[in-house]
Assembly symmetry: none
Homo-oligomer: 414 residues x 2
């Protein structure tokens, strides 16, 4: 069973709204074993909508439509649907009752003409009740194809999908199973990894697909398999995964939606250990990434953003001779910052960063993008230099991710 | 001039990635006076890509394609483009030099076969250099239509659009002239502001359009005017702006791409003043937002992330009696944190936050989402309570923006 998604509405085409609905729907459809073939965003325009419906019908078995059903816009979408399915609008009492309950009983607002019009639905559709809003969903069948029109308001759409649309689609018995596994890596480029994995990739059975997904947070690898025999699929996926993991033990840190901070935090929690950070060039971002994680207060004590040298000496107790002799961007300063914050906040581990985020402050010897990262633990420390380019925001992100990845490996090895 | 956007890549169609590229491109194209007619997401599949190109060519003048250009084997876009434009791949020395510079010279990693393949480009295209990655962009012209293929990595795509694609599209002379002014506000909702501005909005000449653009960083207002007479357009836009600004003096902080941290930093720099921060529930994010700003080291001294109470007492010198009597989430603790960090880092101003980001830790009296924010200056301080809901990430963003907005107003008034 193949699906297509059509989103109707000018707000997406002028870039005012990011289309998060389609990503959510695609995820749910894939989990339900329905492949999404195409996503199309069109204007609130009769001819454009008719064309999109017609083209989608040629390619897919299920066409899910969102948007264009608000009280000011619904005339056009509903009338276009009537035209496409050769039917006409009729009054639908249960929808009217819902609207009345929602507006009049709850908010004391009398039902107006616009609301009345929302209770008109195409005669040939099955009405899908809207539990959280006024515009109902509409389910059409034509030439063995299914069309569903839903409101574009995210929580109305997701409630309708969960309660009615997905169960009905699964009940057709035409869906296949797809299994995915995403493996998260850090500190390695796409082409280097692809070269390393090429023999393993060539040995994969044709049923298993592999994709490289780069992002500012690191490179993700996705294994996918589809079929009917769930047990066999899971076993083939496990075999592929077991072949892959040993090849990337130096750069992988987790699966699916896990973040590096979560991954490092899990290790700290297992060991009942605590962490502090001392950030110069990353300016608080490592601390921010850590504290985005719910429950991080169990293992993260706090940190110091030591932007000015005076903070490095006065608060972190970095020796002013060290700053003078080696400079703020040096391994010596990084180590003293890490040791300083570990003592100050009395934690087991610490992370320290000092570098040049740019655009100014670089030199021939220490160009913009240079950073020293130090990880300190109860009995040893590690300190490493990187050069991460001259885009300030990317430098901060890459430095932060690298530091968290170093921390994770350091805890595992010590 | 009408444009269409085609995104290539399975990751969007399985819902693993939200398509933020298209929204950004649509925004930029609209700002440049190019209307986006349709957005289409297709698979990494030869026939599917060919069909999408063919259909888009029937409808639009410019077709912008993103994705499918990575060095690994799931990326087939280049070969499909050769087929569509009836050309073949040739070796492109400048692209190879860029790749070599990026990989070998900077990172000491030898260029491999995959990198070599990235230097192969369709013979009939104009190569658009990639300043931030290895895969070049490609500009094709066919039957008076323009096709541009770009990498799907957001920062590579945006850099290419800004530096080459948008200027070239404008240079065709086929775009209409649009002037925009974006006004940035913080701390006010869309419906409240719309009500306040309705009389002014009704008095706008029909040539001037106004849009409300909500975002997690605050509500932006965009004034737009299109036409041919630049001087007249500018004058009408100025008149509209002069009517608007006095109506929103309490909530506006800047224009266009300015951030709240930049806006506050400008004021501090003018006054030769310095700033420090003490963050509990915002966990380093205020420090991060500040240090994203180039040159912030001129006015930002540093900060303390006081996640554990022990850091509040030991480093910031918050009285342990205060914590015991009023709790960590209290005005008393916020004030002592702000005063503590101001003294510790010896700055003119300071910002402090203490609250409950959730999901745990709330109570009937202090529910999840509660936050106290204190701004302290040389001779006075201000402390205010907010309740910002129970989504952890949104809570952190809203709290941070609110704190920076309070800081900006405090500096202006003191």
């Amino acid at each position: 069973m193949q699906a297509e998604i059509i989103t109707i509405g000018d707000e997406i085409l002028i870039g005012q709204v990011v289309d998060t609905n389609s990503a959510w729907m695609a995820q749910q459809l894939n989990l339900a074993g329905i492949e999404v073939h195409q996503i199309t965003s069109v204007h609130d325009d009769r001819e454009h909508i008719l064309n999109a419906l017609n083209e989608a019908e040629q390619r897919a078995d299920v066409i899910l439509i969102t948007g264009g059903l608000g009280p000011t816009k619904d005339d056009i979408t509903k009338n276009v649907l009537c035209e496409y399915f050769d039917t006409s609008l009729v009054f639908h009492q249960p929808t009217f009752d819902t609207i009345q309950k929602m507006w009049f009983n709850k908010k004391g607002i009398p039902v107006n003409d616009l609301n009345q019009r929302q209770a008109m639905v195409p005669e040939s559709c099955r009405v899908i009740p809207n539990q959280t809003g006024t515009a109902p969903g509409m389910w059409f069948e034509k030439n063995d194809k299914i069309f569903v029109s839903m409101p574009g308001v995210p929580f109305e759409m997701t409630a309708m999908m969960d309660s009615e649309i997905l169960p009905r689609l699964k009940a057709t018995g035409k869906t296949i199973h797809i299994l995915h596994k995403t493996i998260l890596t850090q500190g390695i480029g796409e082409s280097m990894l692809a070269e390393r994995l090429s023999a393993w990739e060539n040995s994969l059975p044709s049923t298993v697909k592999m994709a490289y997904l780069p992002s500012p947070m690191g490179l993700r690898l996705r294994l996918s398999i589809s079929g009917n025999d769930n047990e066999k699929m899971q076993s083939e996926l496990d075999t592929a995964l077991n072949g892959l993991l040993p090849l990337i033990s130096d750069c992988r840190y987790g699966f699916d939606d896990e973040t590096l901070a979560q991954s490092a935090g899990k290790l700290l929690l297992q060991r009942s250990c605590t962490l502090s950070v001392a950030e110069s060039c990353t300016g608080g971002n490592i601390s921010h990434l850590i504290t985005l994680t719910p429950g991080s207060s169990k293992w993260f004590t706090g940190g110091v953003t030591a932007y000015a040298n005076s903070v490095k000496t006065a608060v972190l107790k970095v020796n002013s001779d060290t700053l003078e002799k080696y400079g703020a961007v040096s391994s010596q300063t990084a180590v003293e910052m890490a040791e300083g914050v570990r003592k100050l906040l009395n934690t087991d581990y610490s992370v320290a960063t000092t570098g040049i985020a740019g655009p100014d402050g670089g030199s021939a010897e220490k160009p913009v993008g240079t950073i020293w990262i130090c990880i300190a633990g109860p009995t040893k420390f590690i300190c490493e230099k990187f050069v991460f380019g001259n885009d300030r925001e990317r430098f901060i992100q890459r430095s932060s991710q690298t530091a968290l990845h170093m921390l994770r490996k350091f805890i595992l090895n010590n």
